[in-house]
Amino acid sequence: MNKAVNPYLTGYRTILAKEVRRFMRIWPQTILPPAITTALYFVIFGKLIGSRIGPVAGFGYIDYIVPGLILMAVISHSYANVVSSFYSTKFQRHIEELLIAPLPSWIILAGYVSGGVARGLVVGLVVTMVSAAFVELSVFHWPLVISVVLLTSILFAMAGFINAVFARTFDDISIIPTFVLTPLIYLGGVFYSVEMLPPFWQGVSLFNPMLYMVNALRYGMLGVSDIESGSALVIILVFIGLLGAAALWLLHKGVGIKS
C-alpha cells in the first residue's frame, strides 16, 4: 500500500538533502578547515600561551576556551553555508526552480536554514572531537548545551539567509562575516572572561549578543558563566523570531529574487 507523503515534507527533504550533499561534496572547503584551525587554536592559545595564563573561573585556560571555540565554529559555518549556497542559487538563477514550484516560502526558508544547521552541527562535532584530543571534555547541563548549540545555529543560518537575499555580488556575502560577525565573536568572550575587562568595556560587551551565547554554552559545559543562561536563551529566541519573520517577509515579497 502506498503511503501518502506530505508534498511539503518532500519539498523540505529535497532542499535539505541537496544542501547536505553540497557541503559534503566539497568537504575539503567546508569540514576540514575548521578542524585544522581549531587544532591550531589549541596548540597556540591552549598549550603555548595558555600554559602561561593562570586559571580562569577555576578552570585551566585551555578548558575555558573550548565552549567558545565550538560555538564560534557552529556560528560561522551555519552562516557561511546558507549565505554562500543561497547566493549561488540566486547567481546561477536556479532559485527559479524553487520559485515556480508549489512550495510556500516557509518551506524554502526551513530547507536552507536546516542545511546551515546541519553544517554547523557537523563542524561543531568535528571541533568537539579535535578538542577531545587536547582536553578532557565535560558537560555540566546537557539540555542547555543542546539547546544553545541548536538555537544559535538556527539563528545564524537565518542571518546568512537574509545576507544572501540582499547580496548582489560575491563581495556582499563576505562583508558581514568579515566586518561584523568575526569581531563580534572574538569580542564575545570566546578567549576571555568579561570580568578581565575594565568596567566600561564590561558594560559595552553586554550589547554583544555573542557574549550571551558563548557564556550560555560555557555554563552548559563547565558550569561557569559571566551571564545568566536564561537571559541568553531568551535573547536567542527573540532574535530567531525577528530574523525568521524578516526572512519570510523578504521571500514572500521576492526581494532580491523577483523583479
Binding site: 518532500t10 529535497t14 542559487t89 515556480i100 523583479s259
Partner: protein, 306 residues
C-alpha cells in the same frame, strides 16, 4: 470549458518606471498549441515570468485551468511546466539529480521522482548523460535538459520561452517532433520563438505582442489569410533585360536572372506559369521570398509602430 490559461488585464511596470505590459488579455484553450510572438522587448518574457511566478505583476489576473495564481497558487503552479529562455539549472549538479530535485520540489517522493526522471531523460535522449554534470553538456543537450525538467512533474500546461534558440537544425526538428507528440497526448503548449516558420508549422493559435500590448490574436489559418499574397522568387534560365508584362501580377526584376512575383491570395501557380511561358520566360527554380507568417508579423509591427 475552462481554459488552460486565462490572463486578464495583466500589467507590469518595473521599478525603473518602464512599462513592460500595458494590460494584456489572453485565453489559451486546453489542448492548444499556442504561439506568443513579438519582437525583442515586446513583453513576452515578462508575461511568461508572471505566469511562472518569477515576476511580480503590477495588476491583472492569471488563472491556470481555473486556478487563480494568487488565491489558489499551489494548484496553478502544479499545472505549469516552464522552459525559460536562459539556462537556469545548477551547472555543478548531475543531470539526473536536477530532475529528481525538481520533482521533489513538486512533492513527488524520491522513488517516483527517479522513475519520472528516467522516463524523460530517455525520451529526450539524455539518459546516457544522467551522471554528467550539467556544465559539461552541449547547448542542445542543455535545452533538452530544461524541457525534461519542466515535464518531470507532468504538467498539463507547458510554456517554452524560445526553446530552440541557438539549437542546430537536426535537434530543432527533433524537438518539434517531441513537442507535437506531447501536444497530441494532451499537453497544452505555449511557445515563444523568433523562428516564425517554427510557430507557423507547430502552432494552431497565435498572439502577437508589441510594446506590452496584444496587437493580434486568433487562429493561425485566419491570420495567414490576412496576407495579400505571397512573393515568389524565380530563378530564370536566361538573362532578362526588360521586365516581362504579366497581367494580374506585380513583378520586379532584382537582377537579370531573378524575377520576384507577387501572387494574390488564393490564386494558383498554373496561371502564372502559363503567363510566363507565353512571354518566353523559362523558370529553373523558385522559393518563397518571405514566410507567410513573417509577412503578417511584419505588417502588424508596422501598423502598430509608435
Amino acid at each position: 470549458m475552462i481554459p488552460a490559461l486565462s490572463v486578464q488585464g495583466l500589467k507590469k511596470t518595473y521599478a525603473t518606471g518602464v512599462e513592460a505590459l500595458g494590460g494584456i488579455d489572453l485565453r489559451v484553450e486546453e489542448g492548444d498549441f499556442y504561439a506568443l510572438l513579438g519582437p525583442n522587448g515586446a513583453g513576452k518574457s515578462t508575461a511568461i515570468g508572471i505566469i511562472a511566478s518569477l515576476v511580480n505583476k503590477s495588476a491583472g489576473r492569471v488563472a491556470v485551468f481555473g486556478h487563480d495564481l494568487d488565491s489558489d497558487w499551489r494548484a496553478a503552479r502544479r499545472a505549469i511546466g516552464i522552459v525559460p529562455q536562459e539556462f537556469n539549472f545548477n551547472v555543478f549538479e548531475p543531470v539526473e539529480e536536477i530532475l529528481i530535485n525538481q520533482a521533489g520540489y513538486y512533492g513527488i517522493p524520491r522513488d517516483k521522482a527517479c522513475q519520472q526522471a528516467e522516463k524523460y531523460l530517455r525520451e529526450l535522449e539524455l539518459w546516457d548523460k544522467r551522471r554528467t554534470q550539467a556544465r559539461d553538456l552541449s547547448g542542445g543537450m542543455k535545452r533538452r535538459l530544461m524541457i525534461a525538467r519542466a515535464l518531470v512533474h507532468e504538467p498539463r500546461l507547458l510554456i517554452l520561452d524560445e526553446p530552440t534558440a541557438g539549437v542546430d537544425l537536426e535537434i530543432r526538428h527533433a524537438m518539434w517532433e517531441f513537442l507535437q507528440c506531447r501536444n497530441r497526448e494532451g499537453t497544452t503548449i505555449i511557445l515563444t520563438t523568433h523562428y516564425l516558420e517554427e510557430a507557423e508549422s507547430l502552432c494552431r493559435r497565435i498572439a502577437v505582442i508589441h510594446h506590452g500590448r496584444i496587437v493580434e490574436q486568433g487562429g493561425m489559418r485566419e491570420l495567414l489569410a490576412q496576407t495579400h499574397g505571397e512573393y515568389l522568387v524565380l530563378n530564370l534560365s536566361a538573362e532578362l533585360k526588360l521586365l516581362p508584362k504579366l497581367d494580374g501580377y506585380h513583378c520586379e526584376l532584382t537582377d537579370p536572372h531573378t524575377l520576384e512575383v507577387q501572387i494574390p491570395t488564393g490564386a494558383g501557380l498554373n496561371p502564372l506559369f502559363a503567363a510566363l511561358s507565353a512571354v518566353g520566360v523559362e523558370v529553373l527554380s523558385m522559393r518563397n521570398k518571405h514566410n507567410r507568417l513573417e509577412q503578417v508579423f511584419l505588417k502588424l509591427l508596422r501598423e502598430n509602430h509608435e
